[in-house]
């Protein structure tokens, strides 16, 4: 307990740590945000409130693809191009598996060794979270801290097999889906619905014998995307091929991001989307804490498993089970 107290900084120290742009200061503040202690949560909320005026100036990019698609290599190579254009890049990951099994599909920052050595890059692995949407909640707050610390691009990486993608889609400006050609599309295991979220699909590993396959996949995906309706922002999703390994095709993807940014700013949709996301996020935060309060209350912890079992076995109707639990909670 005394150790805990010593390691916690004051609000002012956290704030200056973030605003100085120092990576250690930023890391400490993120650790505070990720804490599950109520007192830490309160301090974190104050910190974010204090730095809020310095946020919002980055380009927020969601990036997803299943394991094996080469996400680390892609981000490592793509990140170099961002850094070479004299911009600062933060890479955050949302990996729901890391809290369940202790292991992580996305691994940690050792995956992006070169990038992590650059002083213009900041790489932060997935926070621990809970089943109530806590991972996404923490990632949103971490993104704000990175913005306050002066990062120009925020890449939020997800693993493409869970429910995190919808949450991430709701906090980014641009959503990039990485795919492979010739791997048997039905085996790529990308979760249903994700392809339709994409502002662009990048077909990776378009190198060597695979170039032809990649180009064919490009046409196929372009045709498939035509079957979907236009995005409400007026942007038509694009398909690109690239080889992160050979550093091929990446500037073209960076150009695409810039094109998107300009078009969306001119149409006013960039700001409109951010405003809608802010309202959405306020309500998501409310829902998150309402659920947390419920599922963490002692009466519910004691009874939940029993009721789930009754419902699963068909011995109790879902609605009745829910109402009984709610009565215990509200009484």
């Amino acid at each position: 307990m005394s150790l805990k107290r010593r390691s916690r900084l004051s609000l002012e120290e956290y704030k200056s740590g973030v605003l100085s742009g120092d990576r250690v200061g930023l890391s400490r503040a993120i650790t505070l945000v990720e804490s599950t202690l109520d007192s830490d949560n309160e301090l974190a909320a104050k910190l974010i409130d204090q730095v809020y005026q310095y946020t919002g100036n980055s380009f927020r990019i969601g990036i997803t693809g299943v394991p094996g698609v080469g996400k680390s290599t892609f981000i490592e190579a793509f990140g170099r191009h961002i850094i070479d254009s004299d911009k600062k890049l933060a890479v955050l990951t949302v990996d729901p598996s890391s809290q369940k099994t202790g292991g992580s599909i996305l691994g940690d920052k050792t995956r992006m060794e070169k990038l992590s050595r650059s002083s213009q890059a900041f790489i932060r692995p997935s926070p621990s979270g809970d089943a109530l949407g806590g991972v996404a909640q923490k990632t949103r707050e971490t993104m704000l801290l990175c913005e306050a610390a002066g990062y120009d691009y925020i890449l939020i990486e997800t693993v493409g097999v869970g429910q995190s993608e919808t949450a991430v889609k709701n906090m980014v400006d641009f959503f990039l889906l990485l795919m492979l050609a010739g791997a048997g599309d039905e085996l790529q295991g990308i979760k249903k619905g994700i392809m339709e979220m994409a502002d662009a699909i990048a077909i990776n590993k378009a190198d060597g014998d695979n170039v032809k396959n990649a180009n064919r996949a490009k046409s196929e995906y372009e045709n498939a995307l035509h079957l979907f309706p236009a995005n409400e922002n007026g942007w038509l999703p694009k398909v690109k091929t690239c080889s992160a390994l050979n550093d091929d095709g990446l500037p073209s993807i960076l150009d695409l991001l810039t094109e998107f940014n300009i078009q969306q700013n001119e149409s006013g949709y960039f700001d409109q989307n951010r405003k809608e996301q802010a309202i959405h996020w306020m309500h998501q935060t409310i829902h998150y804490y309402l659920k947390q309060n419920f599922y963490k209350s002692p009466e519910i912890i004691e009874k939940l498993a029993k009721f789930e079992d009754l419902v699963r076995k068909g011995n109790k109707h879902s609605v009745q089970a829910a109402r009984t639990l709610l009565n215990h909670y509200f009484k």
Copy 2:
């Protein structure tokens, strides 16, 4: 007030009304379920608990498609085939527009005149609801009442432009998407993600000059569906053409449903899916009432619009706004 009391029946009367299979008795019970009065909600919960043992025996089908695709005509014609096979059919609609504007995209049961005259059919328009998922919540409970009343098929119709489809997907066994050929696919306005939920796509209005287009669209959708991963239930989504107007191709779709039903029962996935849905539904019900309790509390009603405005204008951070509102609620 006295009028209200007179029009409410006793629990026993509601129960026998439902179990008798009488359409008037069923209608009254649904009105009770749809009520927004707390006392009615309590009685409705008791009613569902009492009839719960008689539920679960129907085949639950979600059906969606944008306005203009011919949903009413399709359901009218398709419904005849179900009735002709000596089964009872209930048609429920979930139309989020009906509560916002007072108008309804889906209209009401006058759309399905022939079907509504059959004693084997029961057609119920969209309940009024609220922004908290109330429409879907009520529809789930209404579905149970229809099952207790002996309906063999429950068709749950949505309009394909809102968020109801995910909720409906989570309460049905089979999800059918109606599409058109040659209408400019990008103009069909089907909400992103819906195509990936479909267990089958039916291309309607495959008649006259449109047959060739419909067949071409069929191939295109089949190709597009191949790009998606297999459903977790092992079922490969099928594409069919039909003309509801000419009563063409509908038995083939009904056969498809039967094939699905047999396959899913043999694999055990039918029951497994129902069990997962029941657990899901219990938690959804909990979340619904937690949110309702929050958003209906006087302090929140008084303050919410102001906080949304602050967030929209960027004067307050979403998380801080959420926490302030939560503090008011929990204090």
